[in-house]
Amino acid sequence: METTRDWTIPGVTIGFAAVAVLGLWLLPDWLMNLTVIAFARALAVVGLMVLWRTGLVSFGHALYFGLGAYTVALLGKDDGISEVLITLPAATLVAAAVGLMLGFIVRRYREIFFAMLSLAFSMVLYGILVKTEALGSTDGFNVRTPTFLGFAPDDAGTTLRTIFVVLCGLCWAVAVLVHRYLQSTLGRLTTAIRDNEIRVEYLGYSVAQAIHGKYVMSAALAGLGGGMLAIALGQVDPDSMVNWTVSGELVFVTILSGPGSVAAPFIGSMIYELIRTYAFEWLPHAWQLIVGVTLLSIIFFLPGGVWSLLARLRRREVE
């Protein structure tokens, strides 16, 4: 715990600064768009990573992802609010509030029951959205072009670049805060709970409360990610925001990334988006095959995700 220096915060600070600056100069619009989608999804994956460290896998975080997305979209509906300083915190708070309520139920379950209960809740929201014509039913509806502290970009390119920079800043803040959280007693209770719930209780801490807190945190991050994705795509619909396939993608990226570091979800999510994009280009009718083979390879050869590969390389350097 105290023998190796922790480079995470300097690393993510330099990393996100470099991505933001170099990205503005070098990235073509399609790749910048891809990065925005990847980073928005990664925000939700950071929360799932915290749960995974605790030994919990949620197959239903599209519930919070979708809540965040629809909150942003609904606030802007009919010439409503488009200011991201309001819409994004609102998306986060709505998801956190629902997570707080459902947390009282899910914190009592573990393993497959936890995963399936989460999935069930997300499918309830999916069902409601699909049947609600006022929200566009299966087609969804458009999201207002965002404003940033009053600044309203006048073309699509400027909007994309502004979203990109804001998102890089947001991802940096989330990475630093979650890393700091994981270094606290409460943060260390993730792996401790996964290892031995009985000991945690007999040391005097409520496992249920600790899990509830982590669940709310993951819900809030998923809401933030969903809200950001809605702003980036300019459109929300049940299939791309709330369906079980969205939850599956989030779990996929969590496994691909690994639980080793808060930086991992951003790298893993970017890799996933690239794999998916190129797989779709090469095999438009069977791109899922490539994605599936990738997942299998990760499970067999890199069970700790892509981050474990970096950690392995670093260990080799030290030796």
Binding site: Y181, S184, T191, I198, S206
Partner: protein
């Protein structure tokens, strides 16, 4: 001296099986009490009731005069009653040092204090002091999941002591440990616990351990207390000999000082 911990008319049934029947025990501060009994006698059930894992069917458990029946394990821990386990309960994926750091962090984690950084020099010093006191400093950076049995037990007890309890319940601290190691382990544990002035109740099958370390023996048989006396008296009690020590030890006698030895005339 008034009792620190007291059980009054404690009963516990699991369907038709009675695991505790009218158990009455009063333990004074700083006492070291050995709880003995054959398998299934109700020893661990008693420990589990005192520490909140099981709720008694009836009866009261008083700690510092307050009834603690119905409280959760963590509430009881916070009150000052901690325990170790027959199978050591540790964080297997963390190092020995990190196990103690997490335990220390939890001990001070009230409200927002739980968000304080765990990696702090003051906590690290405390963890190192505990490692030294329990003789496990050599294993400091080893993963707890790979520890030998004796070290796991010591770590388990050290973690239980982090919250500075007034009462410590040890559930078979020497089970699974070789006869060579068990006295070494118990010497380390008991000297550390005596230094802290903690009241100890420990469940034990090994009569040599019991006779050496406790000031009082409580013997269980089928959920009932059949003897509550100093070790010399208890281990010579006919009921204890028959129902706890067993037939194979009938031909042993207790020598002054508490050590068991085969009686010279036992085989004619």
């Amino acid at each position: 001296m008034s009792a620190l911990l007291e059980a009054r008319g404690l009963n516990k049934s699991f369907g038709a099986v009675t695991a505790a029947r009218d158990v009455d025990i009063a333990v004074s501060p700083h006492e070291i009490v050995g709880i003995i009994g054959a398998n299934g006698a109700g020893k661990t059930t008693f420990v589990n009731m005192v520490t909140g894992w099981l709720k008694p069917t009836s009866g009261r458990i008083l700690y510092e005069g307050h009834d603690i029946v119905g409280r959760t394990p963590r509430e009881i821990t916070r009150l000052g009653i901690c325990r170790s386990f027959q199978v050591a309960q540790i964080f297997g994926s963390a190092s020995v040092f990190d196990n103690l750091m997490i335990a220390l962090g939890i001990a001070e984690a009230k409200g927002l204090a739980a968000l304080r950084l765990l990696r702090r020099p003051d906590l690290a010093d405390k963890a190192d002091a505990l490692l030294a006191r329990y003789g496990i400093a050599d294993y400091r950076n080893q993963s707890a999941g790979t520890l030998p049995q004796g070290v796991r037990k010591l770590l388990d007890i050290a973690m239980a002591m982090v919250a500075a309890p007034k009462v410590l319940l040890l559930d078979e601290p020497t089970s699974g440990i070789s006869s060579d190691e068990k006295f070494v382990l118990m010497d380390v544990v008991m000297s550390a616990l005596k230094e802290d002035g903690v009241t100890v109740l420990f469940v034990e099958h090994d009569m040599e351990i019991v006779s050496r370390y406790v000031s009082r023996v409580v013997a269980f048989y089928q959920g009932e207390i059949i003897c509550d006396a100093p070790p010399l008296v208890a281990l010579a009690d006919p009921k204890v000999k028959e129902f706890v020590i067993g037939e194979d030890l009938h031909n042993q006698t207790l020598l002054k000082g508490g050590a068991l030895q085969e009686a010279p005339d036992a085989r004619g």
